[in-house]
Symmetry: C2
């Protein structure tokens, strides 16, 4: 390990270039987190406010559909709320990474939590997607009817609220990729 | 950047220590991948071979339940097969990391694919879990009956096959964490 003045200068130039690239990655990281907050929070609110009452009643049943009729949708709202809460809390760390682009420990912490949140969000989104599919198509073999034939507005709401959640999943995959690149470039 | 002989010696010792730690991480990575292969392949096979015919028929319906009666379970089998196939293909790279513990590019490639596969596996597992829950409990509000009351063995099969898949999800989270640590220690 020999370091002449010239090589030392090159090394420092190289290092400052790397820091510049890492700063760009950190800024992108910050923007992506804000997009994910909008997506997941929008999903949680859209699903949480879903409530449709049909304009007729029978003696036995009051035709009303809400998100918490199905436990999967409750899980969806909880998962999206947790993830958007985590994202808000992760913003300060993301800002620190813009300023101190050589940080290592805090990046690993973010990767651990990002991975866990990716799993949680994917679980909520895809479980709900499975139920939404069932609500639209039904299943003749299991004798489950397509409830969307009655509850139109309810079904539009729950289908739409999936979008923000899947955007969040895509953003988390990008975030993990960016973190890995930033960590390797330190 | 001054490097005396003593400091250079320390640096090289430090570097060899880091390589040793990275080798340990790579070996753990290899073992975890094999566990995940067993889990996901077992899940795919357990779900794919699920087939129950009840010992009575009526004029209208032949009481037979198979995994492909529900599209979600087909997705589950496909997702688990893809993930276990990917894991087998990733084993050579994992072995290369044991030998060349300073590798960087190939680790990032593994992180990208591991993240995508984590999302795919979680989606399959949780969508199926939502349907399995419905099969067990039914839903009175949507008028979906609990089919497990008739199809006992079918329900045991599909519930059991979820286990391997969720083990796979946990292993992928660990793998991503290990990769991040190895990348930061280079």
């Amino acid at each position: 390990m020999k370091a002449g003045p010239l090589e030392a200068g090159e090394a420092s130039k190289d290092s400052s270039q790397k820091h510049g690239a890492n700063r760009g990655i950190s800024i992108l990281d910050f923007i992506l987190r804000i997009i994910a907050i909008v997506g997941t929070l929008g999903s949680a609110i859209a699903m949480g406010t879903t409530d449709e009452t049909l304009p007729f009643v029978t003696q036995f049943i009051r035709f009303r559909a809400r998100y918490n009729d199905l436990p999967t949708f409750t899980f969806f709202v909880v998962a999206n709320s947790i993830v958007s809460g985590y994202l808000v809390l992760s913003l300060p760390l993301s800002i620190i990474h813009i300023v101190r682009s050589g940080a290592k420990g805090s990046r690993i912490i973010l990767i651990i939590f990002d991975t866990a949140m990716l799993a949680l969000l994917t679980a909520g989104a895809s479980a709900s997607a499975a139920i939404v599919y069932l609500a639209h198509k039904g299943n003749t073999r299991a004798n489950w009817s397509a409830i969307c034939q009655q509850f139109n507005s309810f079904c539009e709401h729950i289908s739409g609220s999936l979008i923000g959640s899947f955007v969040g999943v895509a953003v988390f995959i990008l975030l993990l990729l960016l973190s890995a690149v930033a960590l390797s470039r330190r």
